[in-house]
Amino acid sequence: MAKDDIRDRETVTPADVLGGPTRRRGLTDFMPRKSGKLLAGLVLVVGTLLFAFLGPLFTQNPRNSDNPALLPPGSDGHVLGTTSLGRDVLAQLAHGAQGSIMVGLVAGAIALVLSLIFGILAGYVGGWTDEGLSAFTSVMLVLPGLPLIIVLASFAQQSDALQFMSRSLWLVAIILGLTAWPGAAIVLRSQARSLRVRDYVAASRVAGEKPHWIIGVEILPNLLPLLAAQFIGAVILAIMNEAGLAYLGLGPSGSITWGTMLNEAQTGAALTRGAWWWFVPPGLMIALFGCGLSLINFSIDEVVNPKLRTAPAAVKSVRKAAKAVAEDEKKVEA
C-alpha cells in the first residue's frame, strides 16, 4: 500500500481527490502545463518556423524556371519535384512559408489590437460606449467573413490610391486583420466586464489610478493567456483565409505564399496532370502549422479553463480509486 493513501487521512481536501495540483504562484500560473499536446504543438510550430527561415538558404531561387517541367519528387536533386514552369517545389514551399507566416502574424496583430479596443474598452468603460461598440462587434460577427474579404480585396485592387501596395502581402494582411477581430472582442468584453467589478480593480479606482493604468496594469495581465489564445486563433484564421483568397486569384501577386502555390497548381492543371507533389505539400504545411498552433492553444485553454484539465484527471483518479477498492475487497475475501 502506498505510504500516503487518501483513505488513511483524517481529512480529505478537494485537492486530494482532484489529483492535487501543486500550488503555483505568480507567472508560472499563466504558463501552460507541460503535456504531450503542448510538446507536439511546439515541435510543429518551431519546425515550420525553422523551415521558413533556414530553408531558403539551402534551396534554389523559387522563381528559377530553368529546370525541366513537372519532374516527380526525388528526381534530379528536386526533393519535391518541379512545377509546370520548371520551378522547384521545395524552394517555393520554403519561401511560401515566409509569406504565409508573415501574413498570419501581421493580420493577427491587427486583429488583436482591434479586439482589445472593441472588447476590453467596451467591457471596461460600459454605458453607451459599450452599447455602441458591442453592437458594432455583433454586426461584424454575423457578417460572413470570406465574402466580405473578397469584396474588400476586389475593390482595393481597383483603387489607384492603394496602387502602391496593390495586391501586396501587406494589403492582403491588413484586409484579413480588419475582418478577424469580432469573435475575440466578444470574449474579451465579457471577461473585462467581470474583472471590472472585482474588488482589486475597485480598490485601484478608489486609489485614484487613471483608467488606462487600470486597464494596462490591473486587467490586461489577467487576460494574458486569453489574449495569447485569441492571437493564435487569429493567426490560424488569417493563414487559412489568405490561402483561400490566393486560391481564388485575389492573393498577393508579387510574393509567394502557400496560397499562391495552390492557385498556380490549379491554373497549371496540376490535378488533371496528376502532379500531386505540386498541390499536396502547401496544403499539408497549412494543416500542420495550423494544427501545431491549435495544440498550443489547447494548452493555453487549459490554463484559462481549469475544468478542462482537472476533470479528466479527476475521472482518472476516481477510476484508480475504484480499482484499488475492488482489489482490497478481493484481498479481504481471500
Binding site: P147, S159, D160, G249, G274, L293, S294, A314
Partner: protein
C-alpha cells in the same frame, strides 16, 4: 416576447448595416476607383454603353446627384428587387443569375452543415463522456482535421476520386449531357446526389472537427457540475445521465456558437464550389470578381449575407425556445 423583439431589431439593424456597407464600399475606396476601372477595361477594347451605365450606378456619378440622393435611389432599387445587370453575362439581370445559383448552394451547404452538426455534436458528447481514457486522443486528431483548408481537401478528393479513380465526376451539379435542365425524375435526383457527394463530403469532414471539439469541451465542463454528481449518487442509469443530464445542457453553447461556425462553413464552401465548379453562389461570386462584374459581385455578397443572417435568426429562435434563460435574461 421582449427577447424576440430584441433579436428581430438586431437582425434588421445588421441587414441595414450590410446594405449600407455594400453601398459605401465602392465609394469609400481611396482614389477615383471608377475611372481607374473604366481605363483598365478600356484597354481590352471598347466598353459597351450599358456597362458604363452599370458602373456609374454602382460607384455613383458625383456630377448627377448628392450622396444622399444616391443612397435613397440605391435603397429604392433594392426594394424593387433590382440588383442591376450583370456585365459578364450581359444582359442577364443579377437577380436572375442569383436565383439560379441559390438553390444549389442552400441544398449543398445546408445539408452538409446539418449532417456535420449531428455527427460532430454526437461524437463530441461521446468523447467528452469518455474523458480521461484513450478516446481523448481524438482531440488532437480532430484539430488536424480542423486546420485543413477546405478547398485543399477538395483538391485532394478530386485528385483521388475523380482523376485517378473515376468514381465521381470532376465538376458540375448534374450531368449536362443527359439533362438539358433541372427536371423532376429519379434519374435527375440520382445525378444531383452523385455530383454532390464529393463537395458535401469535403464540407462535412472539414467542419466536423469544430463541432466535436466544442461539444467535447462543454461535455467535460458539464460532467463536473454538481447536479451530474447528484444524478450519479442517486444511482441513475449511466445512459440517462449521459443523454438527459449532460449532453442536453452541453449542447446549448454549441448551438449558441452556430453563427461563428456557420461563417466558417460559408467561407469554406465558397472556395469548395470553385474547386468542383459547382454552380452555386460562391462560384458565381468568383466569376463576378474575375470578370470585374461589380453589380454581380455585390449582389451575391448581399444575398450570401442575407442567407447567413436568416440562418442565424432561425437558430436564435430555436435557441430561445429550448433555453428559456435566454428569453428572460436576453
Amino acid at each position: 416576447m421582449k427577447f424576440y423583439v430584441r433579436r428581430i431589431t438586431f437582425y434588421v439593424i445588421t441587414l441595414w448595416a450590410a446594405i449600407s456597407l455594400n453601398f459605401a464600399l465602392p465609394r469609400l475606396m481611396p482614389g477615383d476607383a471608377m475611372s481607374t476601372m473604366i481605363a483598365r477595361m478600356g484597354r481590352s477594347g471598347d466598353i459597351p454603353e450599358s456597362t458604363l451605365r452599370s458602373i456609374e450606378l454602382l460607384f455613383g456619378n458625383p456630377d448627377e446627384s448628392s450622396l444622399w440622393e444616391q443612397y435613397v435611389a440605391y435603397l429604392g432599387q433594392l426594394f424593387r428587387g433590382d440588383l442591376g445587370v450583370s456585365v459578364t453575362k450581359y444582359p442577364a439581370p443579377v437577380t436572375e443569375l442569383i436565383g439560379q445559383a441559390l438553390p444549389w448552394t442552400i441544398g449543398l451547404v445546408g445539408l452538409a452543415t446539418v449532417i456535420s452538426f449531428v455527427l460532430g455534436v454526437g461524437a463530441g458528447a461521446f468523447v467528452g463522456w469518455k474523458r480521461g481514457t484513450w478516446v481523448d486522443s481524438f482531440v488532437p486528431a480532430s484539430t488536424l482535421l480542423q486546420a485543413v483548408p477546405y478547398f485543399w481537401l477538395a483538391m485532394i478528393f478530386v485528385y483521388l476520386f475523380a482523376v485517378t479513380n473515376r468514381w465521381f465526376p470532376i465538376a458540375w451539379n448534374y450531368d449536362p449531357f443527359s439533362f438539358s435542365g433541372p427536371e423532376l425524375s429519379w434519374a435527375f435526383v440520382g445525378s444531383v446526389v452523385y455530383h454532390g457527394t464529393l463537395p458535401a463530403l469535403t464540407i462535412v469532414i472539414s467542419s466536423f472537427g469544430g463541432w466535436l471539439l466544442g461539444m467535447r469541451n462543454m461535455m467535460v465542463a458539464t460532467l463536473s457540475e454538481d447536479y451530474v454528481t447528484t444524478a450519479e449518487a442517486k444511482g441513475l442509469k449511466r445512459s440517462r445521465i449521459l443523454t438527459t443530464y449532460a449532453a442536453r445542457n452541453a449542447a446549448l453553447p454549441s448551438m449558441a456558437g452556430f453563427s461563428i461556425a456557420l461563417a466558417f462553413v460559408v467561407a469554406g464552401s465558397i472556395v469548395t464550389e470553385q474547386v468542383f465548379s459547382y454552380p452555386g453562389l460562391g462560384k458565381l461570386m468568383i466569376t463576378a470578381v474575375q470578370g470585374n462584374d461589380y453589380a454581380l459581385m455585390q449582389g451575391t455578397f448581399l444575398v450570401i449575407t442575407i442567407a447567413v443572417l436568416a440562418a442565424n435568426f432561425l437558430m436564435d429562435l430555436i435557441y430561445g425556445f429550448i433555453d428559456p434563460r435566454t428569453r428572460h435574461n436576453g
